[in-house]
């Protein structure tokens, strides 16, 4: 009796072992399959962009839709893309979910009444105006530096305008794409004049200082590497919230704070106490920080919408000087390119899946690049003249491809 029972148990055991072995082999088979799928995804991605370039017919969204279903047949990996472009989701929803900082003065700063102001916030409004025709149809979502890229990857925000630096690893490994730079920034340091600093100080003078900055940013990497290169020892404290960083600086616990130069200028303008004098140095920033919109990877239709919203504001500002005040006049009797952008001919915008007057709405409701810049960055003492943010016609880096 007992023997038969044991025998039965052994048979069961054997079955379990077989199952485990089968499981193991099936997993490895799956691995190789998913590797193939990855390659397939890349292929379909390039197909997408190819069709977008050649797609001259009106039905832009249909075009990419059929493309997606094609890749859907070959594998199930591209579910994300097949669900439709973010553009369609935003249009269905009726609001744009835009990830911002909320604590970056002049970029996206939450005011006491709950409104968000700044150049990043204005570009959120510009995209909403282009897609939905209403610059106020924006839901601002405040994100910490550490949360922001997960928010894009999980689709919690449609576009990220959170003074995010375009870097190689973020563009490739972190799984998202970067739009055109809206502000060319550079990392600088801020210290107290009473500690012997001046605007021409060198970074090596911060030896043995307590340096504070944001956690999860490129700035902590930059300052770590620079300190290592210069052979100076610093204590680097990184905080989740930049407001705590400036509070620590005001109190004196932090000797030096460091982040993008524009943010330092903004903080200095807003928060410097009367009995302290703050200086920003070195004159040449220690890093390149091109800041611009960020969106999910492999969605070129949505990428085009965001990119051309930015380009339209730049072209109209720098090459034609068309702003919110004279946009109606320009639509009636402006240069051919201006009329094209503002929807006078209609073909180009509808091919992108937008209404013909998409960029007219942007300019009339939000303004052109010069207006957005002046409105947000002039009050804290930043100007386009002579900086990298000047037009290419004046020796700067702001340059947009032609609209035709």
């Amino acid at each position: 009796m007992k023997n038969t029972k044991l025998f039965r148990l052994l048979a069961v055991l054997f079955a379990v072992t077989l199952f485990a072995a089968a499981c193991g082999s099936s997993e490895t088979a799956d691995d190789s399959a998913s590797g193939d799928d990855g390659a397939a995804t890349d292929d379909s991605g390039s197909d997408d962009s190819g069709s977008d370039d050649s797609g001259s017919d009106d039905s832009g969204s249909d075009d990419s839709g059929s493309d997606d279903s094609g890749s859907d047949d070959s594998d199930t990996e591209t579910v994300d893309v097949a669900q439709g472009s973010i553009l369609a989701q935003v249009q269905d929803r009726g609001t744009l979910r835009c990830g911002v900082s909320g604590a970056a003065v002049a970029f996206s700063f939450t005011q006491a009444d709950g409104s968000v102001t700044g150049i990043d916030a204005d570009y959120c409004r510009a995209v909403a105006a282009a897609v939905l025709g209403d610059a106020d149809a924006v839901e601002f979502i405040a994100l910490t530096a550490a949360e922001r890229f997960d928010a894009i990857n999980t689709g919690n925000v449609d576009v990220l305008m959170r003074n995010s630096t375009w870097t190689q690893s973020r563009d490739t490994a972190v799984g998202m794409d970067f739009g055109p730079t809206t502000y060319f920034d550079g990392q600088q340091l801020m210290a107290r004049a009473s500690d012997g600093f001046s605007a021409t100080s060198d970074v090596s003078e911060i030896d043995s200082a307590v340096v504070c900055t944001n956690a999860g940013t490129t700035t902590e990497t930059n300052i770590s590497e620079l300190a290592d290169t210069l052979g100076i020892g610093i204590t680097l404290n990184t905080f989740e919230d930049f407001n705590i960083v400036t509070d620590g600086f005001i109190a004196g616990t932090c000797d030096v704070i460091t982040t993008d130069g524009s943010a330092l200028v903004g903080r200095k303008a807003e928060q410097q106490p009367d009995d302290q004098e703050w200086v920003i140095f070195p004159p040449t920033p220690i890093s390149k920080e091109p800041l611009g919109p960020v969106y999910a990877q492999n969605d070129s239709q949505w990428a085009d919408v965001v990119n051309w919203t930015v380009y339209a504001t730049v072209i109209l500002a720098d090459e034609y000087g068309v702003g919110s005040a004279d946009v109606d006049d320009a639509l009636a009797n402006g240069a051919p390119e201006v009329i094209r952008i503002l929807g006078g001919e209609g073909e180009i915008q509808t091919a992108m899946g937008l209404s013909a007057d998409a960029f007219y709405n942007v300019i009339s409701q939000v303004g052109n690049y010069q207006e957005i810049f002046d409105r947000n960055l002039n009050p804290v003492g930043l100007s386009r003249d002579g900086s990298a943010n000047a037009s290419w016609l004046e020796g700067g880096l702001m340059y947009a491809p032609p609209a035709r």
Binding site: K5, L6, R8, L9, V12, L13, A15, V16, T17, C23, D30, S34, D37, G38, T41, E77, T78, V79, D80, A145, F149, D150, N153, S169, T172, A173, V174, G175, D195, G196, D207, S208, A209, V210, A215, G216, T217, E220, T221, S224, E225, A227, D228, T235, L236, N237, T238, F239, E240, D241, I244, V245, D247, G248, A251, G252, T253, D255, A296, Q297
Partner: protein, 522 residues
Amino acid sequence: MAVIDTTQSVLASSQQRPPIWRNSGVLKWVAQIVVLLLVLGAFWFLGSTAIDGLAAKNLTPSYEFIDGPANIQPSEGIDTAPSSAGRLLWVGMVTTLQVAIVGVILSTILGVLVGLARLSNNWLANRAASFFIETLRNIPVLVQIFLWFYVMSNTLPDLEAGEGRRFFILSQKGVSIPRIFYDDGFYQWLAFIALGIVPIVLARRYFNARQAAQGGQNLAGPATLAILAVFAIVGWFANSVMSFLGGIFGSNETAVDRVNEGGIAGAWQSIPQSLMQLLLTLAVFGLAIGFIIRFLNSRRTPAGLAKLTDDDYFRMIFAVVAAAFMTLVFWVLWPGLSSWIINSGSDFWGWLGDKFGDDRGTRPLDGMLPTVSDGRFANYGPTGATLTVFRAALLVGLVLYTASFIAEIVRGGILAVAKGQTEAAAALGLSRSQALRKVILPQAFRVIMPPLGNQYLNITKNTSLAIAVGLSDVVQVGQSVFNKNGQSLAVFTIWMAFFLACSLTISVIVNFINGRLEIVER
């Protein structure tokens, strides 16, 4: 004949086994296996879906970044210039553990004191403790940590400029006191003190026997201390006699040199990999067989072996399956494990061997005063033991918050001891403090211990709030790491594994203490 035939047929029919689909023994097993397959399938489905989804976003989880460069430096910790991201995470883990352990100790002491004060007959102490508890446990701990950060940074003094050594530096950057650290002769000194174990054992045996024979005071304790003191003092000067151990342990060279050098490290290094695999296999099967034998013994009754249930068979089979699986791991899935054990074992002995030797200094311990190197910046002494404002804010916040809960737990535990115990202790002539120490608290701790363990878990988990005040704990450095490479899932699994390990360790310790405190029933 016919009668016998019918009884036999009745017997046969009663012994006939039910069909397999109605056999409860089989059905039970089928149900077990189906559930197992469903659970495994669900995990496999969830895991593969997650991995596919990440792959579609070009984010296949990978742990390769651990060996990559760190690129950032932690604010403080055992290594402020880590060579790799893995090392950076390790520095963060150590900082987390430091805060957690110190926090557990301090909050226990403070909590017990406040809890006792809450029960005190002294009106002032009683009210003050109530105020402490009611205020602190009703404010979120993050708010308290911020509060302490602001209070410390804004109220502590600036350091007056100037250079020099001080015994004590208090400034808005933190507090610095003299630091004691171990020097070259430390391990030789420890080995010398270890020699004292032999006389200590002999002395204890002698004094215990003498007390048993003659009564009177037992001098074993004082004798132990005296012998230890003698060995420590003599060893302070004479520890270099232990340097011969260096030759026995071997040296910390490369693998080939180590074998030539001999010693334990060399012997360990020359173990062939297959032998180690064989030893490991024997070890796991030995454990499995030992478990089965012990298990069967526990089921043995005076009337013979008790009837074993399916569950009992399952335990024994599982032990064998686990051993077989580990064998598979040793030989096929992860053969590198054996060579890793060989190498790290050899590394350990080589490292130990390096701590001994004739060419080492002989001073076991050394100390340094906090030094202000440049009055402008180094506002706390980099050569002293420094508690920075960032760490202090976190620690004070966590300790006060947790202590307020522990105080209530202690109060509850003491009140749970029957009033008769206090009265009986008083009747025996014990003073109030004696009654507390010898009667009340030992019984109260039985009630206190389980909820106290929960508080220890809480303080460990709450250390992750360090990022709010800029302290480089494991969560903060992990965030910096995955912000660079996008491997948030990989970093999350590391965090989870780390905190799980911490929590389980605390649970094991608390359960062990709990087991010791339990009333022994006979």
